[in-house]
Structures are given as structure tokens and as C-alpha cells.
Symmetry: C2
Subunit: 346 residues, 2 copies
């Protein structure tokens, strides 16, 4: 494809997942990617990325079409982006929100927004902000992380499931066509599996069977999925929580196969003692994205009267863990915390 015919894509978030998404889009030859970086910008703009990828091999000094340290503003004759792909985490109350962050780069009624992010109801603030834009769902099963700035280790093969979110201001036919187009662009390099789904939320609920249960349980107990399987925690904690998610999915119109819990339990290879994302984030002192992974499916189930006693405790423990992570990040002293406490007394 000639340079001027290439899709103009902005990828927001150049960590483990976002960087491999950028690599794959450029490898396919259908897209020129502008990648928005934060903490690793100076390192990458100087040296490029060092990538060890199960799909793409070793790439040293890799750079996309362009790297920038903030979302570029379009307008005044500057052409807009055809597609904006968000690969950041969804952290509640973070400033700016994703919709505010990408707004300068989104042409109303034109740009397609792709959310390669986990969890339920992530599209709602974007639908509200961009009522006339196609919003796509990307559920990624790749395993990739950034142990140091600019160093990407991509261990589990990229598999992406793409579908359209419902946006009342756009036509469903157009949205579905755009989802199929994106699958085509993402598959062009032939090195990854990218599938179209007509039912975006079904694939989200399926992944939640793992992400609302094993992921937060590992974060709370600072452990890995192999250790959960070695102990009796699978039967005590994990499977009951998974069945609560399945009941919530069912109450919301998504009947998940009875075998899904066991499949998710067996998913990670034992020998790597895999620590899921929330656990890694907590250990690194990052905030955890528990509201879309645990809170939203919990609320979606409770709204329909589904009993979710295990998920409720997992959620409240995640809240407490997040409180501790925030306090540590903000460097709050015990003295300061007591002052706030005393001033709140009647």
C-alpha cells in the first residue's frame, strides 16, 4: 500500500500491549502509526524500543512512523486520524479520563475509536463524549509487558477479538463494517490471530470469568495463578467467584458455556507462575483497574438480583488495596492521614 493510502492510526499507550499493537499494525503495511508515550518517551525517542516478541521476533531500536509525548491536536488544516486505538488501563478517577485524553485527536463523526482494554462498560463514557463516532471493542489475549522503559517482552501470542460497541448515534451496519475493516488491517501482516465478533460484549463477559476472579484474587493475595491452582483456593474461592460471573452474564443475556470456568482456570501454563495484570500493578505500586474488571460486572449482576457474595468481598478488598496504593503514590504520611480523619469528625 502506498504511503498516502495508508490508514492514519493513533495508538495511545506504549506499554506492553500498545507497543505490540503498533508493531503489528505497521508490519501489516496498511497503517502508519503515531504512538503516544508517557513515562518511556525520552528513552524511546532516543533509542527506540527493544522488543522480544513471540510473534514478531527481536526488534532493536524499533520505532513506529512517529512517537509523541502527548495526544496531538488536529484541526486548522491538519488532517485527522482515521483510527484512534486506546491501549491504556482504565483507572477510575484518573485525570484526564480516556475520553478527555483522546478528544483532541478525534474528528467528530469520522474517526473510529478502538478500545483494546479489559472490562465491562468501558465504552459508556466514550459513547457520551463521541455520540457520532464508531466505537470498537478489542479484547486482547496477548501477554506482553514492559519490565523497563522501552524494553518490551511479548511472551503470549497476540490474539485479538474485535466487534462494534453499540453507539445510538451511529448505524450498526457501519459500525460492524468498520470492525471488519479493522480486523483486515490488523490481520494484514499474517503474524497474529484477529477475529471479528458480532457480539462484542459476549467476548468481554467471557474474559471477565478470568479477569474478575483470578486477577483480583492474585492481586489481593500477591500470588500467581499456578499457586492458586496448587493450593485449594480454586475450589474455595476462584470457582465460586467464576460461577457468580457466569450467573451475572446470564442475567444480562449472555449464556456462557458451563465449561468456561475450567478453561479459564487451566489457561495460564503452570510452569510460568503467572502473575496477572492487577497483581503486577499492585506489586509495582501502580493503581489497579478494578472498577471495570470487578465493580461493573458486580453491579450488572446485582441489578438483576444475582447473589454475588464472593465477588462482593473481592471488590471491597480491591477498594481497600486501591486506597493503600493511592496513599503510597501520593506519599501521604500517617500524620496527614490522621489530620484528615480528625477534621472529618462530628
Amino acid at each position: 500500500m502506498s504511503e498516502e493510502n495508508k490508514l492514519s492510526v493513533l495508538v495511545v499507550g506504549g506499554g506492553g500491549v500498545g507497543t505490540i499493537v503498533a508493531v503489528n499494525l505497521e508490519a501489516g503495511g496498511h497503517a502508519k502509526v503515531t504512538l503516544v508515550l508517557r513515562s518511556n518517551f525520552s528513552k524511546v525517542s532516543r533509542d527506540g524500543f527493544s522488543i522480544r516478541s513471540v510473534d514478531h521476533g527481536n526488534l532493536n531500536g524499533w520505532r513506529p512512523h512517529e512517537v509523541v509525548d502527548q495526544v496531538p491536536a488536529i484541526g486548522f488544516g491538519k488532517p485527522g486520524f482515521d483510527t484512534v486505538v486506546c491501549c491504556t488501563k482504565n483507572i477510575q478517577d484518573s485525570t484526564p479520563s480516556i475520553e478527555e485524553l483522546i478528544r483532541p485527536a478525534v474528528t467528530p463523526g469520522y474517526t473510529t475509536v478502538v478500545l483494546i482494554q479489559n472490562g465491562l462498560n468501558i465504552e459508556l463514557p466514550l459513547v457520551a463524549q463521541f455520540p457520532q463516532n464508531v466505537i470498537l471493542s478489542g479484547v486482547s489475549f496477548m501477554g506482553s509487558h514492559e519490565p523497563e522503559p522501552g524494553i518490551i517482552e511479548h511472551d503470549f501470542e497476540d490474539k485479538l477479538v474485535v466487534g462494534a460497541f453499540r453507539n445510538p448515534g451511529t448505524s450498526a451496519a457501519l459500525s460492524n463494517a468498520r470492525a471488519r475493516d479493522f480486523v483486515g488491517h490488523y490481520s494484514a501482516g499474517g503474524k497474529t490471530v484477529c477475529e471479528y465478533t458480532a457480539d462484542a460484549n459476549r467476548s468481554r463477559w467471557e474474559k471477565l470469568v478470568y479477569n474478575a476472579t483470578m486477577n483480583p484474587i492474585c492481586a489481593i493475595l500477591r500470588t500467581d495463578t499456578a499457586t492458586l491452582r496448587l493450593s485449594d483456593s480454586i475450589e474455595n474461592l476462584v470457582r465460586p467467584a467464576m460461577e457468580e460471573i457466569r450467573a451475572a452474564a446470564s442475567a444480562n443475556g449472555y449464556n456462557l458455556d458451563a465449561s468456561i470456568a475450567q478453561r479459564m482456570i487451566d489457561m495460564d501454563p503452570m510452569e510460568i507462575f503467572f502473575k496477572p495484570s492487577m497483581c503486577m500493578d499492585a506489586l509495582k505500586g501502580n493503581l489497579i483497574e478494578f472498577e471495570n474488571l470487578v465493580g461493573e460486572p458486580l453491579r450488572a449482576g446485582k441489578k438483576h438480583g444475582v447473589a454475588m457474595p464472593v465477588l462482593t468481598v473481592i471488590y471491597d478488598m480491591c477498594k481497600m488495596l486501591q486506597w493503600q496504593l493511592k496513599a503510597a503514590r501520593e506519599g501521604r504520611s500517617q500524620e496527614d492521614m490522621l489530620k484528615v480523619y480528625d477534621s472529618g469528625k462530628p
Copy 2:
């Protein structure tokens, strides 16, 4: 009291609580104490204890009547102990069990056994082992720990509630009289509060309102009771769990006052950011005594059909935490764990 009229007392466990119990019994002048030490024996037999006590002041090089490194065997003309006081933790599956540990020092039908330990049903194995001995309950509210071997920091005042456990092979009147006697000996120094209770299990259920809830929640989340109160975890996690304990107590015949949850929530002074015993043990890599503190009240409630969804998850998370602590103490490698796992496959 002359030396030969003094009560002969064996105190098992010379950590934070056991040492202060020994100090107080000797300070009262009614007892000569033989103290059984383990990890700190060589240090203490050489230098004595260094004690900073809110009740007894600073004691340097303090030693009781005798320190020993194992429970002495009586018999063959050696006089038995009048009283054996157990101040160790109750860890399930630990070897030897408490009843095996103290058996050499207990004269059947004669020695009074006092359990200054937390939790429910701790007396059952001792009643089975010593069917004709008086078994007393001591619920301690002191705060005392041993940051280094032989160094005791006693910060919260000693308060001890003593009553008789039910032992079908002994007379209730005798057991109650012995409990009152022990209160007299323990109070003789005038420096501590020691109260008699006619209902030993009531005081245990009361303390469980704290010990089955705030204690394990702090252990699981590696936090302290002040931080729980600063966040919204009290209303989300702690109070619901406390109300489940109150319901279980009620189903077992102990109606606890509705105000007890709030009293237990407010118990620890905010400014010390107090980490309860299970949290301290987990942080130090010690095993946690969760079966008598969480498991037994949970089973006691469930037996009567009490719904205990929050306690159930807390219990299962404690089990997982204990699994991790055991694996670490035993130095199990990931390789070894996988071998065990693979060999268990069908």
C-alpha cells in the same frame, strides 16, 4: 508468702504475652514461675529479659524463678506443677500439639491448666487429653510483643478475663473456685486488672468480634486497623463481618450487645496504626492462628444455619495466605511444587 508456700507455675511460651504473664505472677509474690522458652532460650538464659512494660516499668536482665528450654517431665518423686499456663499461639497441624507439649508437666486430676490464648474451642483437645483436670480460660487484652529475642515491649495494659471451661470430668464448682483463685494470684501485685467471669465463652465470642474480622482482614491486606478506619473498609468489610460473628454468637446462645461492633472498631488508638497479631505474623513469615480465630466461629455459626458470606471469603483467603506462608517456611521451590502437582494428576 514464704517460698515453700508459693504456687508452682509453669508458663509455656516466653514471647510478648507469656513473659509479661510470668513477670506479673512473680511480682504478685504468690507464685514461682518456671518459664519454657524456645527461640530466645540461649539469649535469655545468658542475659535475662530486657522489658519495657506499661505496667511494670523497665526491667533489665529480668529472670523468673527458672527458665528451661523444654517442658520439664514430672514424676519419680519430682513434685508436679500446681498450674500450667499456656501462652503460645494455636496453629493448626503444628507438631507437637499443645496438649502433647504440656503433657509431661501435668499431673492428672491435680494440675490446673490455664489457656491464655485466643479463639473458640481451644479447650476441646485439652479436655480430651486431661479429662480430670480443671481447664481455665484466660482472655488477654494486653498488647506486648518481642521485636528481638529477649526484648519485650509491653505497650497496652494487661487486662485478663478468667473463667472455667466446661470439663465433664471435673466439678463445675471446683473449676469456678480455681478460676477465682487464679484471679487472686494474678491480681496480687496490684498492677494489672484481672477479672473473673462465670461465662468463659462469652468473653471469647466478644473478643472474636475483633479477632475474626479486623485481625485477618489486616493480615490479608497487610495493613493496620487505623488504615482500615481511614478508608471505607469499615462499612464495606469489617462491620458486615462483625455482624456475622454477632449472629453466630447469638445462634450459639451468646447475645452480644449491639454496640460491640463499634466498640471493637474504636478499640485501637488511631495514632499507633496498629497491626494485629495475624498481620504481624504474616509479615514476619510466621504461620497465622486463623483456625481458632476465624474457622471455628464460622463453623459454629454455619452449624446453626447462620449466613456468613463475608467470613467465608475471609476464611478461604486466610487458608491461601497460610498455604503461602507454609510454602515459604518450608523453602519449597516452584519446581518441587510442580512435581507434587503433576504427580497428583489422574
